[in-house]
């Protein structure tokens, strides 16, 4: 029996890493029925997004001729039509594509940047750490939505001046110049500060490990230790962060579009459609209900999967006030 205890250190390390393999995670999911439900929702969403042109019966941005505007759901238009006679179902389907694109890219951008900053801040310490952390302090004290609104009004609209608008019923933005790429980057930047701090914390505790010291003794450069040794060991945390942040990013896109500073018309954004539909709530409730349900279901799917992943990969994160 005693011989079994004397396992060489590298075996244990390998075992540790294998626990996070994708197959293991999928297998572990069977103990999390809600996580499986989330996975199914996301699967449907991804299929919808990829196959949008095949699934949607009409063009999302232009109204087919001969349609009535604000038509209730019928067999021809299962989700009804909007104020311009466009098919709401087609817009919801194409909206999945836009939502996933903006959500995924912004989170990857934000987490990538934050991981680099957090690694530098936590591993290098000293002056680099102070500069990054004081900047994070300031960024965290900014109200997030205001920061996003500000970034969007600075970057989103390069060539037009301020717009006249009526706050109550018309969509705020009639401008077509707001760039989806910039929206994505803005959302990514918006989440960077908080993630930087979390990654830094993980790096600080990871840095204490002997393997870092060993690598340094072997003459590895700082960059190599950060990217080759510390990073793989905080990968589980980063994957969990991505899954927690995805619904946050999706909500941010929808909120900004709802406020008229996100995706410009006629692009099929769920948030923008909700905003436009608000003025016709009484006449066309379907125009509100379907895009709204689409956002809620999507975010629900990611939240459920994110919770399950967090339980499987990194139970320490439970209860962090990130979502």
């Amino acid at each position: 029996m005693a011989r079994e205890v004397a396992v060489p250190a590298e075996w244990e390390l390998r075992a540790e890493r294998r626990r996070y393999g994708p197959l293991r995670v999928l297998l572990a999911l069977r103990h999390h029925p809600l996580g499986v439900f989330g996975l199914v929702v996301i699967f449907v969403l991804v299929v919808t997004a990829i196959g949008a042109p095949l699934i949607a019966p009409y063009d999302p941005e232009t109204a087919p001729s001969q349609t009535k505007v604000l038509q209730p759901p019928t067999l021809d238009h299962v989700f009804g039509t909007d104020r311009l006679g466009r098919d709401v179902f087609s817009r919801v389907v194409f909206g999945a594509r836009l939502t996933l694109e903006v959500g995924l890219v912004s989170v990857l951008f934000g987490v990538f940047g934050a991981t680099a900053l957090g690694l530098a801040s936590g591993y290098l310490g000293g002056r680099v750490d102070s500069i990054i952390q004081r900047t994070v302090d300031v960024a965290l004290a900014f109200p997030a939505l205001i920061l996003l609104l500000a970034i969007m009004s600075v970057l989103g609209n390069p060539d037009s001046g301020p717009r006249q608008f009526v706050i109550d019923h018309t969509p705020l933005s009639e401008s077509k110049n707001i760039n989806i790429g910039i929206l994505t980057v803005a959302i990514g930047i918006g989440m960077m500060a908080g993630v930087t701090r979390i990654v830094r914390g993980a790096v600080l505790s990871e840095k204490q490990n002997v393997y870092v010291e060993a690598a340094r003794a072997l003459g590895a450069t700082d960059l190599r230790i950060m990217a080759g040794h510390v990073l793989p060991n905080i990968m589980a945390l980063i994957i969990v962060l991505v899954s927690i942040l995805l619904p946050v990013a999706i909500l941010a896109e929808a909120s900004l579009s709802f406020l008229g500073l996100g995706v410009p018309p006629p692009a099929p954004s769920w948030g923008a459609d909700l905003s436009a539909a608000r003025s016709w709530l009484e006449e066309a409730p379907w125009w509100t209900i379907f895009p709204g349900t689409a956002i809620s279901l999507t975010v629900l799917g990611f939240n459920l999967l994110g919770d399950a992943l967090r339980d499987i990969l990194d139970p320490r994160l439970r209860g962090r006030g990130l979502s």
């Binding site: 004081r134 300031v138 004290a141 109200p143 609104l149 970034i151 609209n157 619904p247 709802f258 939240n303």
Partner: protein, 315 residues
């Protein structure tokens, strides 16, 4: 403790300095300015020039910045470049609206979250627990603007009635209308927070219930109710309070949306309008104020922490 609070307050100085510079630069970088709005998109160059001159927008940035900060130290937060209403007077009218919204939101959130969290932690993994947990994930997933819209739409369909939109009435003038105006946006805003807090209450209470002193309480023969409320809940509340503090920052964004949907003349709506109209002094002032509030709330949270858990000492 006094020392600690003082140090934290001192830390506010560099943060506010950073915020003031950041907002100042950020909003000056916005293409187009108030002059364009005053003169119209096709305004003559002379008009633009004259307006910018009047408002001092032609001066070097550093001069404009010191002018603004100097004003704050004299208690002058600046005024709108469009309506010339001072920020101080806007605050007097609008702050009560946002404050009422925030207070009601927090009351609703806590009233939903803590009982739900306790029930679900007392009977973990029972159908009741699963239902409560599922509802909480659902609450986290419905965007507040959709929930807000639904809270207008559903009464409209079912009762042919909507909550009053616009025409804000202060509480002391017309409490009944006022409550109708605030309960729906607060509910829309509070649901997500309640959901987050409920999950936290549950996991935190489950953890506390494993402690030895809880076993002692049980073995003394205390009723479940006493064990939970007297012994466990107070300690379980520590993380909940912290996170509630963190949520206040996110809430400010939420007020922008719900004040817009429900036509409440609060600070969030002022912020949105001012950003879109490039009304620099108002936006800068608002961002500075909300950042200050955010930092102070976090300080208050840390202090409340020590009150909840006397073991925590700040040196």
């Amino acid at each position: 403790m006094g020392n600690y609070i003082l140090r934290r307050l001192l830390l506010l100085v560099p943060i506010l300095f950073g915020i003031s510079v950041a907002t100042f630069v950020l909003f000056r970088a916005i293409p187009g300015d108030v002059a364009v709005i005053i003169c119209g998109q096709t305004g003559s160059p002379e008009c633009l020039e004259r307006v910018r001159d009047q408002l001092g927008l032609n001066r070097p940035l550093l001069v404009q910045y010191t002018d603004w900060v100097g004003g704050i130290f004299r208690g002058d937060f600046g005024a709108s470049m469009l309506s010339h209403v001072s920020l101080a007077s806007e605050l007097r009218h609008r702050f009560p609206v946002t404050l009422e919204l925030l207070i009601m939101t927090n009351i609703i959130a806590l009233a939903l979250a803590i009982p739900a969290g306790v029930i679900s932690a007392m009977r973990p993994n029972t159908p009741l627990d699963l239902v409560v947990r599922f509802l909480s994930v659902l609450g986290l997933s419905i965007p507040n603007f959709f929930l807000g819209t639904l809270l207008i739409l559903l009464p409209l369909i079912w009762f042919d009635w909507t909550p009053p939109l616009g025409g804000y009435k202060p509480f002391f003038e017309d409490p009944w209308t006022n409550l109708q105006q605030f309960i729906f946006p607060s509910l829309a805003l509070g649901t997500a927070i309640a959901a987050g807090l409920m999950r936290l209450t549950r996991s935190s209470l489950l953890e506390v219930m494993r402690n030895d002193y809880i076993r002692t309480a049980w073995s003394k023969g205390l009723r479940e109710r006493t064990v939970v409320t007297r012994h466990a809940l107070k300690n379980a509340m520590i993380p909940v309070v912290t996170v509630l503090g963190l949520y206040i920052g996110g809430l400010m964004g939420g007020t922008v949306i719900l004040e817009m949907i429900f036509g409440l003349p609060g600070l969030g709506r002022l912020a949105l309008e001012s950003i879109l109209l490039r009304d620099y002094p108002i936006v800068q002032g608002l961002v500075l104020i909300s950042a200050t509030v955010f930092v102070l709330v976090n300080l208050a949270v840390d202090v409340v922490y020590a009150w909840f858990d006397p073991r925590i000492r700040y040196a």
